[in-house]
């Protein structure tokens, strides 16, 4: 308080002595006190700025004086909570060379009088709340080399008069509300090095003048509303190291001349650029960041990009790129981030990407979603599996392969990517069990497996203690959802769409039946209803087949679905099964002995039965240790019954037996894609189901083009570990069109 009243007295005396604007005082101390007056300084950070006679302003906080003249040459109050406004008295510091008021909670306008600081070389008012126009008087500062006004609330145009500051090297006006066009004259400066205009409301197009004079190395106009195309003269900007034109409304093609630049950062994302990615970008070997994402670029990913061996970030996502992923990208050995998602790329994930492992440092982001969604004119799709080579990418923290047509199971080798914190495999056609080894991913906090065909239970996730986001909905999972450990944090939404999955919450599908004491009765009733529904369903199915099928077995189909629960019965759905009875099958497989096992799945074991004078049969035995196994069985049959396609592996029949509920299929000799891809050629292929190479008799049911239904159905009838063979499938599709 004492200081303050003293201060007021001092000011009164100042006024009395004729101190005022326009009158230059050589008393820097008095000027500083006048400047202090316009700060609120609620924290009293300028406590030592006092008027006491013994106080030397040259030792005041933030003040630096010239050793000889004792003029203030530097004022650095950055980071202090000054609050208030910039005093016009600042203009009286005629010798000041540096003013740094960065982040000092100042508001108000920049005073005109700043133009009187004729020695000023560096002015930093960034990170404040300063509003209004950039004052005209700034252009009077002929010594100014650095002008940083970013992160304020400045409005109005960028004055062309800034071009009259001959030594301006750094001009950073980013994150304000400046409007109008970027003045052409700004570029006509031999020494301008740094032009930061990011985050304003600038309009107009990029001037062809932008590199008439050399020097500019940093050019950032990100997040404005610039239109027009990138000028051809960009090739003159050979000094550019950072070129950020992202998030504007630029159109046209990326000029070939951009290849003259040797920038470290090229950010063109979030515009409306069209045309192809110029191959010449592959010559820009200094690139550390190449971001062309979210444009309208077409054509292929140029393989020459593989030459960018210093590039750490490559973002091409959100374009309309076609073709396949060039394996040459595997040469980008410094790559940490690679995003190719949301394009129209097709083909397999090149195994060469596995080479990206050796020089990885900390992060690797691999997002390939929507990669395989394009169908060609024949209605085919290419697909792939998760390359085992990914296991070598041990630094990878983020793996997103969602929304592709990826098939097969999760390779247990993925569990070796110990740094993985995010694994998104959702919206694919993955099947099989969720591998137990996934619990080795102890850093994983997000796991998304929804909309696949995973089977088995979720017990393998019990030990994923770091998991905070889990989604396994819409799979074929079954069993109980554990209640312990971290599972209590997951909401029912994480699990819905798995008919066999039994939750702990109230309206879980099987919650009611388990909660009553009349479990068995209940179960029987449900089974009865279910089977009744199944019979009706099958009748409809057969009826639908009728126009296409000879009547010889339609009668049989009508007669044979007679089910009793007293002893095992075989329900025959197809002619091929008609000759065989349940007992024959049990005899031939020695009551489903292990030696006839050809595959395991999450929910089933698959056996092969070679019957006399007939095609071999595959038997899928659903695990019966789940209380709701009947429901699962029924669900699977329902699903199969609801899908009709010429390319389906047909179900031949089913049976309820003491050994479990059995499904009978045609046995396919071709093996699976998984075998082709993952088993060394020397090892004999395990025989089990695969997509048939020709239409089956059942293909006489009406066929639909719905590919999703097709794929879904294939997974339904396949043992869990199998996948279909891309090549086979492709050939098959072509053969039918």
């Amino acid at each position: 308080m004492a200081v303050r009243s003293e201060f007021v007295l001092f000011l009164v005396s100042l006024v009395l002595s004729g101190f005022g604007f326009g009158i230059v005082t050589s008393d820097n101390g008095a000027t500083l006190l006048e400047i202090k007056k316009s700060f609120k300084d609620v924290e009293n950070v300028l406590y030592d700025w006092t008027n006491s006679p013994s106080s030397d302003y040259c030792v005041w906080r933030g003040v630096t004086c010239d050793n000889v003249t004792f003029n203030v040459i530097k004022l650095n109050l950055s980071g202090l909570n000054l609050d208030g406004e910039i005093s016009p008295a600042l203009g009286s510091l005629q010798a000041v060379q540096t003013i740094d008021l960065r982040g000092t909670h100042l508001s108000g306008q920049i005073p005109d009088e700043i133009g009187d600081c004729s020695s000023l070389q560096s002015l930093d008012l960034s990170f404040n709340e300063i509003y209004g126009d950039i004052p005209f008087s700034i252009s009077k500062l002929k010594q100014l080399e650095t002008l940083i006004l970013k992160n304020n609330k400045l409005i109005g145009p960028i004055p062309s008069t800034l071009s009259q500051i001959p030594n301006l090297k750094i001009l950073d006006l980013a994150q304000n509300q400046l409007s109008g066009e970027i003045p052409r004259l700004i570029y006509w400066n031999e020494v301008l090095q740094y032009l930061g205009l990011r985050g304003n409301n600038l309009v107009g197009s990029l001037s062809p003048d932008m590199c008439q004079l050399t020097g500019l190395w940093y050019f950032d106009v990100r997040n404005n509303s610039l239109t027009g195309s990138i000028p051809q003269t960009i090739g003159n900007c050979t000094a550019f190291q950072v070129l950020d034109l992202s998030y504007n409304r630029l159109t046209g093609e990326i000029p070939f001349n951009i290849g003259f630049l040797q920038v470290a950062t090229l950010s063109l994302q979030g515009n409306m650029l069209s045309g192809e990615i110029p191959s010449v970008i592959g010559l820009m070997q200094a690139l550390a960041v190449l971001d062309l994402s979210c444009n309208m670029l077409t054509g292929p990913v140029p393989p020459i990009l593989g030459n960018l061996s210093y590039t750490e970030k490559l973002y091409l996502h959100g374009n309309e790129l076609t073709g396949s992923i060039p394996p040459e990208l595997g040469n980008m050995t410094k790559l940490h981030y690679l995003e190719l998602n949301d394009n129209r790329l097709m083909g397999r994930i090149p195994l060469e990407l596995g080479k990206l492992t050796d020089l990885f440092d900390l992060y690797f982001t691999f997002v390939l979603n929507h990669l395989f969604i394009v169908s060609n004119v024949h209605g085919n799709k290419l697909n792939g599996t998760i390359p085992l080579a990914f296991q070598r990418l041990e630094s990878m923290t983020y793996l997103n392969l969602s929304s592709n047509n990826i098939r097969g199971s999760i390779p247990i080798e993925l569990s070796r990517i110990g740094n993985l914190d995010t694994l998104d495999l959702s919206n694919n056609h993955l099947s099989g069990l969720i591998p137990q080894e996934i619990s080795q991913l102890q850093n994983m906090f997000l796991l998304r497996l929804e909309n696949n065909n995973f089977s088995g239970d979720v017990m393998s996730l019990v030990n994923c203690l770091s998991l905070t986001v889990l989604n396994v909905s819409y799979n074929n999972l079954a069993g109980d959802i554990p209640t312990g450990k971290n599972f209590s944090r997951f909401l029912p939404d994480s699990f819905i769409g798995n008919p066999g999955l039994c939750g702990y919450w109230l309206d879980s599908p099987c919650h009611e039946s388990r909660s009553t004491e009349r479990v068995t009765i209940s179960k029987a009733a449900i089974l009865g209803i279910a089977l009744g529904a199944l019979v009706i369903l099958l009748m409809i199915l057969v009826a639908a087949c009728r126009p296409y099928n000879p009547s010889t077995y339609s009668d049989g189909a009508l007669d044979k679905p007679a089910v009793t629960y007293s002893k095992p019965k075989l329900v025959i759905l197809n002619m091929n099964m008609a000759l065989h009875v349940y007992d024959d099958i049990m005899r031939m497989t020695e009551n489903l002995s292990e030696k006839y096992i050809i595959g395991y799945g999450a929910s089933s074991t698959v056996y092969k039965c070679v019957l006399k004078n007939c095609r071999p049969v595959a038997i899928k035995r659903l695990y019966s240790h789940y209380p709701q196994s009947l429901k699962e069985f029924e669900t699977e049959l329902e699903t199969i019954g609801s899908i009709k396609h010429r390319n389906l592996v047909s179900i031949q029949g089913y049976s309820f037996s003491p050994l479990g509920n059995l499904l009978f299929y045609d046995y396919m000799e071709n093996g699976s894609l998984w075998d082709v891809l993952h088993v060394p050629p020397s090892s004999p292929p395990k025989g089990h189901y695969a997509t048939p190479p020709a239409p089956l008799p059942s293909a006489k049911v009406p066929s639909y083009i719905d590919e999703y239904a097709n794929l879904k159905a294939q997974d339904m009838v396949r043992p869990s570990m199998s996948t279909s063979d891309a090549q086979l499938f492709l050939k098959f599709g072509e053969g039918n069109t």
């Binding site: 145009p157 062309s160 052409r184 004079l213 090739g235 070939f256």
Partner: protein, 453 residues
Amino acid sequence: MAVQYFSPQTLLLTLSILLPLVRPFTVITSDSDVPSSALIDGPQPAFSTNQNGARTDPREQEAVYEIMRATGNDWATDISDVCRGRWHGIECMPDKENVQHVVSLSFGALSDDTAFPTCDPNRSYVSESITKLPHLRTLFFFRCFSNNPGRIPTFLGQLGPTLQTLVLRDNGFVGPIPSELGNLTRLRILDLHKNNLNGSIPVSLGRLTGLMSLDLSWNKLTGSIPGLSFPPLNVLDLSQNLLMGPIPSSIGGCQSLIKMDFSRNQLTGSIPDSISGLKDLILMDISYNRLSILLPATLKSLNSLQVLNLKGNPMATTSLPNNAFDGMRGLMFLILSNMNMHGSIPESIGRLSNLRVIYLDGNRFNGSIPNSFRNLRNLSELRLNDNQLSGPIPLERETVWRMKRKLRLHNNSGLCYNPNSGFEDGLDPSFSSGIGSCITPTPTPGSTRTVQP
């Protein structure tokens, strides 16, 4: 095929495939007497390995060593191949025989991020070896010779066939501009800013008809501005010299001019009528000269003009015609302070809706502020102080409050504000001294206020 590095052969092959697709080969052919191979003016890989036959012309390499030594960069002689590895400040280009040629040399501590070779300020000089670089396009010296002042070497004129950019900025050069620079007929950029050059601007510079930027500012040049007619010229900066005489009417031939800065000289006469040819002119600054004759009527046709600064020219009793600035639709800055102008402020100024800064202070304007000023809603600075204005201030309350201290109306004869305009708290007391309400003073206290008609 996965190639880790691009071999020059592969590069050439690629370029020969790529280039015709997008644009034809741009081959810069030297027209000098010395036969020299054409350079391949195409994008280069950043890290050419130079291992497959690519080499730097040995004479040029030696010349670069010499030039580096002359600037105190003796270390550079250890560079085995100056065109290899992209040394800062050295740019090269290959010719068809895969021989690298030096095309650009830059010196001086421009910034930390542009690590050009620095100069030893005490012993640096321009080495004549520069003339041994027959492909040199750019020569850039910034703050190199300040402590060792000398003349601009005349041998620079020998770089005529190729040199496009000559920047000798802030180097302390003394003496006159050598007329030999007029031989640099390919020159696009000539920047001699901030030296101590004296004498007049050589007439020979008139041969540099390809100039796009001519910056002779901040010297001590005398004499008159020679006739300049450079159609491509974009920037002409002659500010802060001692130039005299009139602005040549040939300036109208510089049709591409966007910046014309003649401020702080001793120019006399008038702005020539031919100025109307400068349709692209954005900035015209002739402040602080001795222009004395009426502004030309053609001035108003400069419809690209954003900045007009004529401050500090003591016009001989000039009044502004009402339509003086009519066509200047883009005008943002109108600086006419201290020009000894009288008469009334043209109403038409208020129709230039892009105006953000108007300085008419220090004149002898009388009458009232035009009502059209009410339409200047983007105004951020208005200086009408030190005139003889009177009558009500026709500004919106919001405009007044926004400008705050940047509205300066003090020292006029009788400016006032309408009592219900809400100005009272918006006007800064420092800059509105003597301005009161327009109400006729009534002796009866407590009477209702009436607005003066």
